[in-house]
């Protein structure tokens, strides 16, 4: 990979920030940056409302992630709980050749798929759209 050539004309804040990555308000992830002492975030007009939007979206994402994780944990540990404490329930036959245990185990696998699908659809429809809006505002 060729080294990046730095052009002469950059915005005048270049010399104050390591990468000129002003608009994002984030700390660039370079090896040197990772070892630099932490300073206060850069002061940029409009940054505070942008930061507020970012926080709001991060919180929303966290709530969705938490809800789905709890659902998955409940499905799986519900199954494990039955295995641990009520194995007799799982032994009851269901139809010919199947038992409740096999059906529930298969349902846990299906639940994992369904929850995954729910998240991906939410992410595609809601989250990515919100991210694009944020990006557009950030680069204003």
């Amino acid at each position: 990979m060729e080294p990046v050539r730095r052009k002469r004309q950059h915005n005048r804040f270049e010399k104050y920030t390591r990468s000129g990555d002003l608009h994002r308000g984030g700390i660039p992830v370079t090896s040197r940056a990772m070892n630099a002492p932490i300073n206060a975030p850069v002061n940029v007009p409009g940054a505070s409302s942008h930061a507020h939007d970012v926080r709001a979206l991060a919180r929303r994402r966290w709530l969705v992630a938490l809800a789905l994780t709890v659902a998955m944990v409940a499905c799986y540990f519900g199954f494990i709980g039955l295995v641990a404490w009520r194995p007799d329930l799982l032994a009851t036959p269901v139809g010919d050749g199947l038992t409740a245990g096999i059906v529930l185990g298969a349902l846990v696998i299906v639940a994992a798929w369904v929850l995954t699908l729910v998240y991906v659809r939410w992410a595609n429809r809601v989250y990515d759209v919100a991210l694009e809006t944020l990006r557009a505002k950030g680069h204003r």
Partner: protein, 533 residues
């Protein structure tokens, strides 16, 4: 029908050799494209979501799952499903909590993420401890499994087999880096899924393509007990502990987390987990069918006669249904599986040593140009030697159990600190470092005090710690230490940095830009803090 197990078989060796040639070809192609650390660790970020989905699935579907679960189901019936479900449900957790923030906040390893706003030196050292401990257990399990498998299938002596696997792994990683390991995983995943699917279809064809008929036949022959929970999980707390290790360990496996950096952005990372979850779920449903097929068509006694652990159930079934050719194919695929996984493990161990420890701690984040890559390659050679030594030293150990322990370490040392540093504003350096260190040490200690070591290995009458898998204790402990440490020793700067990083966590650093800058790596550009506005 006389089995060909234990004798070198021409067909198997032919498939074997074909796989080695193909993967060496891939390595040669990859080596020509590997020039920078970005290529070596992250395949130049050129892997697509679909490809990475296969690579992730391939990395995850180790020989332990294919042979081990099929064997477990063939001898114990329903109990194998407990492992199957456990090994799958970790993936949704990765998707919801880990995948996108990880990709956005880090560059090559998960320690990048934890260190993104904390003091790098203590955090990276502790993260490297957890990483290397996980990798050590996982490597031992894979090397021992490889040695035993090759000896059983090809008749080659155990030590020779371990050396061969170690050398091949070294070649893949040393010359091909992440590009080679990724494509080897993809090839292997396709072969493994194809082989398992074919085998499953062959089994079902004997039962009218209805799995219920298969299960009914199993219970007719061996009693209704095979369709219900058996004695594998005797103690309820053991069951929950194992479940916790399997579910949360996936999100802490360093070689899996490293794969998220090979795709261009977080959205691709998310899609690749989606693909991987689908493939892995299908795979575990198939192994369940294969296990019962082996139980009915081959018989648990015959399976246990060949290998007490039951690991040969799937190959024996392949021989029965598809003849010597199919057995050879399955054997080669099983070998390929092990080889690909140890290569991934070695790469992530090399990354921990060179990226986390050398470049960030010793060289304070500014390694000389080309140095990090050289150190990574030296670390690979070292790890190959260590892996061979460990494989020979631990000959005969129970490998599925060791994989469970590797998961326990990953779930305790890596997962809590990762979640806390990504989602909790108040995480401080001391909290995160203490969490990782506690997770590692507590898990290793409780393993040493557990029945597996105390009773089975040291022949004491009882063990200090009653559970076989310590996850039930160590995961909450690591979280508690992380939270307490952050509350008792807070750091306002780091909290403010969390706010600053929120944007990057969602939107991503401009990673191509950041990588280009890092690779330019001019030492003169070390900026002092005063120049930041």
């Amino acid at each position: 029908m006389p089995t060909r197990f234990g004798e070198p078989d021409a067909v198997a060796i032919m498939f074997f050799a074909a796989f080695i040639i193909i993967t060496l070809g891939i390595t040669w192609w990859a080596a020509r494209r590997t020039r920078t650390t970005e290529h070596f660790y992250a395949a130049g970020r050129s892997i697509t979501a679909g490809q990475n989905g296969f690579a992730l699935a391939g990395d995850y579907m180790s020989a332990a799952s294919f042979l081990g679960i099929a064997g477990l189901v063939s001898t114990s019936g329903f109990d194998g499903l407990i492992y199957s479900t456990g090994w799958l449900v970790g993936w949704p957790v990765v998707l919801f909590l880990i995948a996108e923030p990880l990709r956005n906040l880090g560059r090559y390893t998960f320690a990048d993420v934890v260190a993104s706003r904390l003091q790098p030196v203590p955090v990276r050292i502790c993260a490297a401890c957890g990483t290397l401990a996980t990798i050590a257990f996982y490597l031992i399990a894979q090397m021992v499994g490889a040695g035993g498998l090759i000896r059983l299938l090809f008749g080659i002596p155990y030590e020779v087999a371990v050396v061969v696997v170690g050398l091949a792994m070294m070649a893949y990683v040393l010359f091909g880096g992440m590009i080679a390991t990724t494509w080897v995983q993809i090839v292997k995943a396709v072969l493994l899924l194809g082989g398992a699917a074919t085998l499953a279809l062959l089994v079902l064809s004997r039962f009218g393509f209805n799995p219920a008929n298969l299960f009914a036949a199993a219970s007719a022959q061996y009693g209704a007990g095979v369709l219900a929970p058996g004695r594998l999980v005797s103690n309820p707390y053991d069951a929950i502990s194992l479940g916790m290790a399997l579910m949360f360990g996936t999100a802490g496996l360093p070689h899996i987390l490293m794969r998220f950096y090979t795709v261009p952005d977080a959205s691709a990372a998310r899609r690749s987990v989606f693909v991987a979850t689908g493939l892995i779920g299908m795979f575990y449903l198939m192994t369940f069918v294969l296990g019962f097929g082996a139980m009915v068509l081959v018989g648990p006694d015959a399976i246990r006669a060949i290998d007490a652990g039951g690991n040969m159930a799937a190959p024996m079934l392949a021989e029965l249904l598809g003849g010597r050719a199919f057995l050879g194919f399955i054997a080669a695929v099983a070998f390929a599986t092990i080889l690909a996984v140890v290569a991934g493990l070695a790469l992530s161990g090399a990354a921990a040593l060179s990226h986390d420890l050398w470049a960030s701690v010793v060289r304070k984040g500014a390694p000389r140009p080309g140095e990090e890559l050289r150190v990574a390659r030296i670390a690979t050679i070292l790890l190959a030697v260590v892996a061979i030594a460990l494989g020979v030293a631990f000959k005969g150990q129970n490998v599925a159990f060791m994989v469970g322990l590797a998961f326990a370490i990953a779930a305790s040392a890596n997962f809590p600190a990762l979640v806390l540093s990504v989602f909790w504003r108040r995480t401080s350096t001391i909290g995160a470092s203490a969490s990782m260190l506690t997770g590692t040490v507590a898990t290793l200690l409780l393993i040493a005090l557990s029945p597996a070591v105390q009773v089975d290995l040291l022949h004491n009458t009882s063990a200090w710690f009653p559970l076989k898998n310590p996850a039930l204790v160590t995961i909450p402990l690591a979280f508690a230490v992380g939270i307490l440490g952050s509350i008792l020793w807070p750091n306002r700067n780091e909290q403010r940095a969390f706010d600053a990083l929120q944007s990057q966590m969602l939107l991503g650093a401009d990673s191509a830009y950041a990588d280009a800058r890092a690779n330019a790596a001019s030492p003169a550009a070390s900026v002092s803090p005063a120049t930041r506005a």
